[in-house]
């Protein structure tokens, strides 16, 4: 039992990851798919950040009296990954705008229908 609760951060990660991936697959709306993708990526950020925490560790700044620090490297990595994620989202949204002006719809099945009718 303590094993289950002790690793609660990983349960959150797994839940978010599955929820995000499910939204990406199941939703027909292109914007909602992007939201799902973001949730999926956020799960990975939490995975990285939570592994950096050491029990009792403080922020990795030189302060008198502490010897135990959290690992700063994952934070740096995730900062980069967040930037990548933002860029991806921006590009995806831009594409959706273009798709909307070309098809006047953001529903996957309607777009598919329009393509078939040619």
């Amino acid at each position: 039992m303590s094993h289950l609760i002790g690793h609660y951060n990983y349960w959150i990660v797994i839940f978010l990851m599955m929820a995000g991936l499910y939204v990406v697959i199941a939703q027909g709306n292109l914007v909602k798919k992007i939201v799902g993708l973001n949730i999926f990526q956020a799960a990975v950020y939490i995975l990285f950040i939570s592994m950096a925490k050491i029990e009792g560790g403080t922020a990795p700044i030189l302060v008198d009296g502490t010897t135990l620090y959290s690992n700063p490297l994952p934070h740096v990595l995730i900062l980069t990954a967040i930037v990548v994620g933002v860029a991806t989202t921006a590009l995806a949204l831009a594409l959706v705008v273009r798709i909307n002006s070309a098809y006047s719809s953001v529903e996957e099945d309607e777009i598919h229908e329009q393509d078939q009718s040619f």
Partner: protein
């Protein structure tokens, strides 16, 4: 360096200058890559520490025979396609967007080179996303509106793939506390029995397979290739999947090691089945396509199957054949897509019905297409023959007769879809009067195309360079060097 060129292209914002800058830079990159390859062949590994941090903490660039070879392939194709793109994109893009095209192209090239050269797994992820994001944009630049939806589809799939890779990297970091490829390779055997590492391995392999468009994760590829501008298709088809393939090799052989990947995780069997599936599904789907660009896209899926098949043998000949096919497929697919680009430039369509009798109107282009196609089939004296020869040899070494037979059978399927185009272009409908009259493509497009075709023939006859390097690279990988 190409990363530097991208903002320059934007700043200049003038078509010819932007072209000049990007072509100049990619030719320089080509020269550097050639020098690097020569250097690694002579001396072994080159390592460069970014920002002066030692490799364990900072990011390290590391070049050995394998990635020097891939660098050479990527820069060669990039330069040739750029020479070609100057005219071809005039017909396919809105004029105002052309400098943007060069900027994105340079970003994509920079990303791909970064992926290839880096010795740090997280850095690899970042570079991969740089190249992926710019390639989504390149695809969406096309005037065809379906390009938008296919770019979107590619984006969703690509991002999921990259995120999977990131999860795998995170799990490996949890267990080993390092991101450097060499340190990972040293640290992994100690913990390789744990569930975490097995999960990490699965995430990484699936993530890369999405990027690689391995069946059954290939669905983004045909649309993305079919609706992108021709120059973009030629570039992405012959570099992006190749670099993804290199990443796969790097993870399997250098980081995880042959023993872990193939005996603990049974990857050989999985890849064998998926590779064969890819070959047959891809080739069969290609036969039924009317859009020739789409046909070649499906054929790419099949060719990736050949490479995966080579890897699944996990012998020097098999892996060497895969690396060789990486090189050969890059030049023949680029040539075929460039030929189609010429057709599109004059005809405005790549549908097989519209290509009736085209062999008489555009003889140079279509001859190039035929030679490229024969090379894809694997006719002797062409590069396709060489890599298939080694693949069959690899299968026979293992005593797997049925697989060798399957490779030969798949070549026949290739012949079927290439023949469809040849049949329409040369043999059927003798005298079509087209309005307006279709003429040969301009020399600015034909020259790069023929350069690739001649390279096709050259490396089919004189194999010492490509085979020698590929085999040494395979030995290097299997020897656990790196």
């Amino acid at each position: 360096m190409p990363l530097l060129a991208a903002p320059l292209c934007l700043l200049v914002y003038e078509r010819r200058f932007a072209w000049g800058i990007s072509t100049g830079l990619s030719l320089t990159a080509l020269a550097i890559a050639a020098l690097l390859l020569q250097h690694t062949l002579a001396d072994g590994v080159i390592s460069y520490e970014l920002g002066g941090w030692s490799a364990h903490w900072g990011i390290e660039y590391r070049v050995d025979i394998v990635n020097a070879f891939v660098l050479l392939v990527v820069t060669t194709i990039a330069s040739v396609v750029l020479l070609y793109a100057r005219q071809s994109i005039l017909g396919e893009l809105y004029t105002g967007r052309i400098p943007l095209f060069y900027a994105m192209y340079m970003l994509c090239l920079g990303g791909l080179l970064g992926v290839t050269i880096t010795g740090d797994v997280f850095n690899l992820f970042v570079f991969m996303e740089i190249s992926a994001l710019s390639s989504y944009t390149l695809i969406a630049l096309s005037q065809e509106r379906r390009a938008l939806t296919s770019a979107y589809q590619y984006l969703i799939m690509g991002t999921i793939g990259a995120t999977f890779l990131l999860i795998g990297i995170g799990l490996m970091y949890i267990m080993t506390g390092t991101l450097n490829m060499r340190d990972l390779a040293d640290a992994l055997p100690a913990v390789s029995g744990t569930r975490t590492i097995e999960t990490a391995f699965a995430f990484i392999v699936v993530g890369i397979s999405i990027k690689l468009a391995l069946v059954p994760l290939h669905l983004w590829l045909p649309n993305a290739y079919a609706y992108a501008p021709s120059a973009v298709t030629a570039f992405i088809a012959s570099t992006a999947t190749k670099v993804a393939f290199y990443v796969l090799l790097r993870f399997l052989f250098t980081i995880f090691g042959v023993g872990f990947a193939f005996s603990n995780m049974l990857l050989g069997g999985i890849f064998l089945v998926l590779g064969l599936l890819a070959i047959f599904a891809g080739s069969t789907a290609a036969i039924f396509q009317d859009n020739v660009k789409r046909m070649l896209a499906y054929s790419s899926v099949a060719q990736i199957g050949f490479m995966i098949l080579g890897v699944s043998f996990a012998t020097t000949t098999g892996v060497g054949a895969a690396i060789l096919h990486l090189f050969n497929h890059a030049i023949m697919k680029a040539a075929l897509f460039l030929a189609l680009g010429c057709v599109f430039y004059r005809l405005g369509s790549v549908n097989i019905k519209d290509m009736c009798g085209l062999g008489r109107e555009m003889p140079w282009t279509m001859t190039a297409f035929v030679i490229g196609g024969l090379s894809l089939v694997g006719v002797p004296l062409s590069v396709g023959f060489i890599s298939k020869w080694y693949l069959v040899l690899g299968a026979l070494e293992q005593g797997w007769w049925p697989i060798a037979a399957a490779v030969l059978l798949a070549s026949l399927l290739t012949l079927v879809y290439i023949w469809r185009v040849v049949d329409v272009a040369w043999l059927q409908c003798p005298a079509v009067r087209r309005q307006p009259v279709v003429t040969e493509a301009p020399p600015g497009m034909l020259l790069p195309l023929w350069a690739l075709i001649l390279a096709n023939l050259y490396f089919g006859i004189d194999t010492s360079l490509s085979v020698g390097v590929a085999m040494r690279a395979a030995e290097w990988l299997l020897g656990g060097g790196g």
